[in-house]
């Protein structure tokens, strides 16, 4: 009996330590990002840094304005959601409410597979297939632009939106739908006027999760967006917050203002993701409260 209690205690401790690992990691990263990212922001000046429109990190008179990166990330995120949300939500509706079980059984693994494809593969296909196609279709001189990045991100956020929305739609109590049907509404009317409103918070959570993925993606975007620090335009070569860090980090000299500024970009990105996560929790909580 005593031994059993011992084991119980030890296992409790093991689980506690495991739980602490992720908290410690988050705390460590937060502290480090602030510690590494703040000096350059203060040195450059928060206004010049956040609202400056020129990024020339290695020029003889360097300029560190990251507004182009911030705006590109914001536009990229909204663009991907604009295209991804309708397709994603409708796919979720199809899977949970309309599809015959056999069809759903074929579509669902495909969606899951889409989530599992490494981002570098998205980037590669984007670079080889999408970029030349965008160039031809729109008659551009170069297909590496914000639009290409948005199209790649759209595909990448779909699995997040679909899987979370589908779960939420499935959780809608059957009685709601039966009541609606009983009052004479058609099945499509029921889905759009009863099921979707009832699953609203879950669907929004999926969208926010997708937004987080769109903002945080670096590899795929780096391969299709052109990476020039322009203010965003649909057909312009652009650089995202993530790619700004990734593309210059390898050559930035230790201790240089350039490297410190890259950490500062990381900090801004971190704040972005924190905000998106906070929004996610807010929506999930609202869903629970009801």
């Amino acid at each position: 009996m005593k031994l059993k209690q011992r084991i119980e205690q030890i296992m409790n401790l093991v689980f506690f330590v495991c739980g602490m690992v992720s908290i410690a990691a988050v705390a460590l990263i937060t502290v480090y990002m602030v510690w590494a990212g703040l000096p350059a922001i203060l040195k450059i000046g928060p206004v010049d840094f956040l609202l400056g429109t020129v990024w020339k990190s290695t020029a003889s008179e360097p300029e560190f304005g990251i507004l182009p990166f911030i705006m590109t990330s914001v536009w990229g995120m909204f663009g991907a959601l604009l295209l991804g949300v309708p397709v994603g939500v409708f796919t979720a509706v199809f899977l949970s409410k309309l599809a015959p079980p056999k069809v759903a059984a074929a579509v669902r693994p495909a969606v899951e597979l889409l989530a599992g494809i490494p981002s570098v593969v998205y980037g590669l296909i984007g670079m080889i297939v999408l970029v030349p196609a965008v160039m031809d279709i729109f008659g551009l001189k170069s297909g590496s632009c914000l639009l290409s990045a948005i199209l790649v991100l759209t595909i990448m956020v779909l699995p997040n939106i679909i899987s979370v929305s589908e779960t939420a739609l499935r959780a809608v109590p059957k009685e709601y739908e039966e009541a609606s049907l009983g009052l004479g509404a058609t099945w499509i009317e029921t889905v759009f006027k009863v099921s979707i409103p009832a699953a609203k918070s879950g669907i929004v959570a999926g969208i926010v999760l997708g937004a987080g993925r769109a903002v945080g993606e670096a590899m795929a975007v780096m391969m299709v967006a052109g990476n020039v620090a322009n203010m965003p335009g649909l057909f312009k070569s652009v650089r995202f917050l993530t790619t700004a860090v990734a593309s210059e980090m390898s050559y930035a000299a230790d201790g240089s203002l350039q490297k410190q500024a890259l950490f500062s970009i990381g900090l801004v990105l971190f704040v972005f993701i924190m905000f998106i996560n906070w929004a996610l929790h807010a929506f999930l909580k609202r869903g629970e409260d009801r």
């Binding site: 990190s57 001189k141 170069s142 052109g226 990476n227 070569s237 050559y251 000299a253």
Partner: protein, 284 residues
């Protein structure tokens, strides 16, 4: 038993090879400092300077440290200017510069020895009919002053400059030699030579610059003022888009034994292959 004997034989072979290799460097070394047994060298060799040279010195340092296990070669990529300053004030054993030293720097009593050359090839899509450009035309294409290929005898198509990211040695080299530092109008900034070549291959309007060693058939190399880039034309100086990689030391100041050994190694024939692998043209 058989296994053991085989192992001993193999070891003997390795050791013999090691001796031969050591002998090679010894022969190249003219200094009295390195006259002791090579394995007795100990300590650090602090080098630093141009970011472009980092890959070359990295390769050399690795091979050097394999031979002299007691020596630790470090490289601090802080830029040519910092490398030259470091050599002048003694914080570095050997400074590395990717440009020739200026008069006032030589006046400080610095000695520069070129140990490699870096050639940068200008490449276009293979469908582009342009095959020769002058330096001036390259500069105008890069800064966006010329926006259509027809202005330099090519097809009626827009010009798209595909380059490397800020901080890249190839970018720094191209921009400084052509005289377009910080004024290039890039359409794409990519993080590797391979990516630049892929982008130039994919876009008929594109032109880009890559290290000479990376050139292959997927893209078309443009001649500059009629001279095609090659190891020979870089060496004899006729190909213009090139720059020297220079070892900077202080005159009259004795290098430490291990630094001297590394200095000699960088100029030796044994280093030539390593320099080539790192994308530069060796001097020997």
């Amino acid at each position: 038993m058989k296994m053991k004997r085989f192992f001993a034989m193999a070891m003997a072979c390795v050791m013999a090879a090691g001796l031969v290799a050591c002998g090679g460097t010894e022969a190249n070394s003219t200094s009295g400092a390195a006259s002791g047994t090579t394995t007795s060298l100990k300590g650090g060799v602090a080098t630093g300077g141009s970011t472009s040279v980092e890959k070359v010195i990295g390769g050399l340092g690795e091979a050097f440290m394999e031979e002299y296990s007691g020596v630790d070669v470090t490289y601090d990529p802080t830029g040519s200017g910092a490398g030259i300053t470091g050599a002048a004030d003694g914080t570095l054993d050997i400074g590395l510069s990717s440009r020739a030293l200026k008069e006032e720097e030589l006046a400080k009593g610095l000695v520069s020895t070129t140990f490699a050359l870096d050639g940068i090839a200008v490449v276009v899509n293979s469908s582009n009919t342009v095959s020769d450009l002058s330096m001036e035309q390259v500069a105008k294409l890069a800064t966006g002053e010329i926006t259509n290929w027809s202005e330099v005898g090519g097809p009626d198509a827009p010009v798209v400059l595909v380059g490397r990211e800020a901080g890249s040695g190839t970018r720094d080299g191209f921009e400084s030699i052509v005289g377009v530092a910080d004024t290039c109008k890039y359409e794409q900034e990519l993080t590797s030579t391979g990516a630049v070549m892929a982008a130039v291959k994919a876009n008929p309007n594109a032109f880009g610059y890559i290290s000479l060693a990376s050139v292959d058939d997927s893209v078309k190399v443009v001649t500059i003022d009629g001279i095609a880039p090659s190891e020979e034309t870089v060496k004899d100086g006729s190909y213009k888009i090139q720059r020297p990689f220079v070892l900077v030391t202080k005159e009259g100041e004795e290098l430490s034994a291990q630094a001297k050994a590394f200095y000699d190694f960088a100029l030796s024939e044994a280093a030539a292959e390593l320099i080539k692998n790192a994308g530069a043209v060796p001097m020997v």
